[in-house]
């Protein structure tokens, strides 16, 4: 009923032998198992169960170069390989569907419109790590995703894709859907584990890594929705096919959420390595900035990634290495476009308010530091900035960065550091003149 009306590039994907994640997301029946199977669904699952060993599945995914699509970009097959081979404890697979990084709305499309793709990927990953129980941790606000995933899960049981002795192979696999409570931090894998265990969603010290000691102190693999959704295609088409897309270090395709000041906001699947400029200006994707406004900055990978300047946007590519060379990160693939009417301080205030609110409070630098940063940034925005505030902000950022258990502290400060570095003049102006250089007022009409 309240299915997201978001734009996708399924029209391109359906004509392509490369783009795969979005191929059928505009088919309203794709969420039903019969349609999913008509489109080749669960063939990879059958192949894995009948013809492959867990080691072979892990090997194929490792070889494909698939990297975690939740934000960290860690090689997926390598992560699976960290599960201790000799462990006699139960193993668990968790799909991280707690999508909540500001700017990111891609996993929601997969869950609402093609939930079996995620479930099949989860099943294959479970087999690869020899797990008999898998969880899908979906953020509680995503009502339609929860409903679609529940319906798909029941269909998968009814068709014998899940449950006991699947397809007569002797392999058992059960699935539990767990819904969250509105905490961004629970998308961080160790906080997710605590949340799933009924604790407050606070991160855990690593090591031990979840692959060794995760849920209930048992080997656990946590993978993002988009990562898992790619797995059936890798199994069916082979690692070489996947590797033939993208760049050497960023194989395959990726979903990008394009938002902010853009003519055609939407979710788009593209091969990694495409120029960011094309994503923003090409008519088949963003189609430029509304009203002929100039570009001021781009946050390329979600609220936790450093800002890019218009000059950097000219040359940066949508892949892990190019983003890093340009001082930012690919993150979750959430591209947020800011036009010339955007006050940088206002945009940073929006972000730090978020991180202060979402800090779990476990580590002092993050708990206290994000609050102090928010206060200083708000005062500058309100025209009450004081000389030395910029230095105070820089000092606070340096003292949070790398000093927290989980990456939320780093995530909170990296955009600030970049915004101070690239747009220092705006901060100085606001402090000197008692008002921001740009008055932000985006009308609601």
């Amino acid at each position: 009923m309240h299915y997201s009306p978001v734009i996708t590039n399924a029209d391109q994907a359906i004509k392509s032998d490369k783009l795969h994640l979005f191929r059928y997301v505009e088919d309203p029946n794709q969420k039903q198992i019969d349609t999913y199977m008509t489109h080749g669904g669960y063939t990879a699952w059958k192949k894995v169960l009948n013809d492959m060993s867990p080691e072979a599945v892990t090997g194929e995914v490792k070889e494909s170069g698939l990297r975690g699509r939740g934000g960290a970009g860690f090689p997926t097959g390598v992560k699976w390989g960290f599960v201790p081979k000799d462990s006699t404890k139960p193993r668990y697979l968790i799909c991280n569907a707690d999508e909540s990084e500001p700017g990111t709305c891609k996993d929601r499309v997969l869950m609402e419109r093609d939930p079996h793709g995620m479930i099949e990927g989860m099943a294959i990953a479970s087999f690869a790590i020899k797990s008999n129980l898998m969880f899908c941790y979906i953020r509680g606000e995503f009502g339609e995703c929860i409903r679609a995933t529940e319906a798909a899960m029941h269909e998968a049981y009814d068709k014998g894709m899940l449950g006991k002795n699947i397809m007569g192979t002797g392999y058992d696999l059960d699935m539990v859907i767990h819904t969250g409570g509105g905490a961004y931090i629970c998308g961080e894998e160790t906080a997710l584990l605590n949340s799933l265990e009924g604790e407050r969603g606070m991160s855990r010290v690593k090591p031990p890594f979840p692959a060794v000691e995760g849920l209930y102190a048992c080997p656990t693999i946590v993978n993002n929705v988009e990562t898992l959704a790619a797995v059936p295609f890798i199994v069916n088409n082979g690692a070489a096919w996947y590797k033939s897309m993208g760049t050497e270090k960023s194989a395959g395709t990726k979903l990008f959420s394009l938002t902010g000041h853009i003519n055609r906001p939407g979710n788009f699947e593209v091969e990694l390595g495409m120029p960011l400029k094309d994503m923003i200006y090409s008519p088949e994707f963003g189609n430029g900035i509304p009203d002929g406004k100039k570009l001021k900055a781009v946050i390329p990978g979600g609220a936790s990634t450093p800002y890019l300047t218009p000059e950097q946007v000219e040359t940066v590519l949508l892949d892990y290495e190019s983003m890093e060379e340009h001082g930012s990160m690919l993150g979750s693939g959430a591209i947020i476009v800011l036009n010339e009417d955007t006050c940088i301080i206002w945009s940073i205030y929006k972000l730090i308010h978020f991180f202060r609110h979402e800090s779990c409070g476990k580590c002092t630098p993050c708990r206290e530091g994000t609050g102090w940063l928010e206060q200083i940034i708000k005062s500058i925005l309100d025209g009450k900035g004081k000389p030395g505030d910029i230095e105070r902000i820089e000092d606070l950022c340096e003292n949070i960065l790398g000093r927290t258990i989980c990456p939320l502290g780093d995530a909170a400060v990296m955009p600030i550091q970049s915004a101070v570095k690239h747009f220092r003049g705006e901060w100085e102006f606001a402090i000197e003149h008692g008002r921001p250089m740009v008055k932000t007022d985006f009308a609601f009409t």
Binding site: H2, T104, E141, E197, G201, A303, F442
Partner: protein, 158 residues
């Protein structure tokens, strides 16, 4: 007793789904929230008794999660995303417009208890912004005309 038999039954079923009982705390809170619309200390105690998990463990978890209001909210609980992608296309204006239309400020409930309004962090509708969530449903690509229409529809439902 605030929890219905149906909710208690659903909570007991939730407990059975997990290798360890404590994992059912968040599902139990979700069930109670769906029934009542908010949570509080009395409800934590009822959940504790229903599934035999210590009260303190229920309360400890519940107070961490902002998805569950801890005070009664209106029949139609409106949550507006105020984060960056939505704010760039008018989320602050959307909030003011709702305040004006409903005659309440953010954080308040209308005197007839029909509507409450809050602004919240990112709801994952960034490419269909600005947006709001009412109860369990998302309303996206909003403008003034759409908000007028949605509010009229909701008023009819009351």
């Amino acid at each position: 007793m605030i929890l219905t038999d149906e909710s208690v039954k659903a909570m007991k079923e939730a407990v059975g789904r997990y290798p360890k009982k404590k994992s059912a705390i968040l599902p139990c809170l979700t069930i109670a929230h769906r029934q009542i619309g908010h949570l509080n200390d009395d409800i934590y105690r009822e959940i504790a008794r229903a599934v035999n998990i210590p009260y303190v463990e229920i309360a400890e978890a519940a107070t961490f999660y902002t998805f569950f209001p801890k005070q009664p909210v209106g029949k139609h609980h409106i949550q507006v995303c105020h984060n960056i992608s939505c704010a760039l296309v008018g989320a602050d204006g959307l909030c003011s417009y709702l305040e004006e239309k409903l005659g309440i400020r953010k954080g308040e409930t209308t005197p007839d208890k029909e509507f409450s309004l809050v602004s919240v962090e990112c709801l994952g509708s960034c490419a269909t912004a600005p947006m709001m969530q009412v109860g369990d449903d998302f309303y996206e690509n909003l403008n003034r005309a759409k908000v007028d229409e949605i509010l009229s529809e909701l008023k009819e439902k009351t």
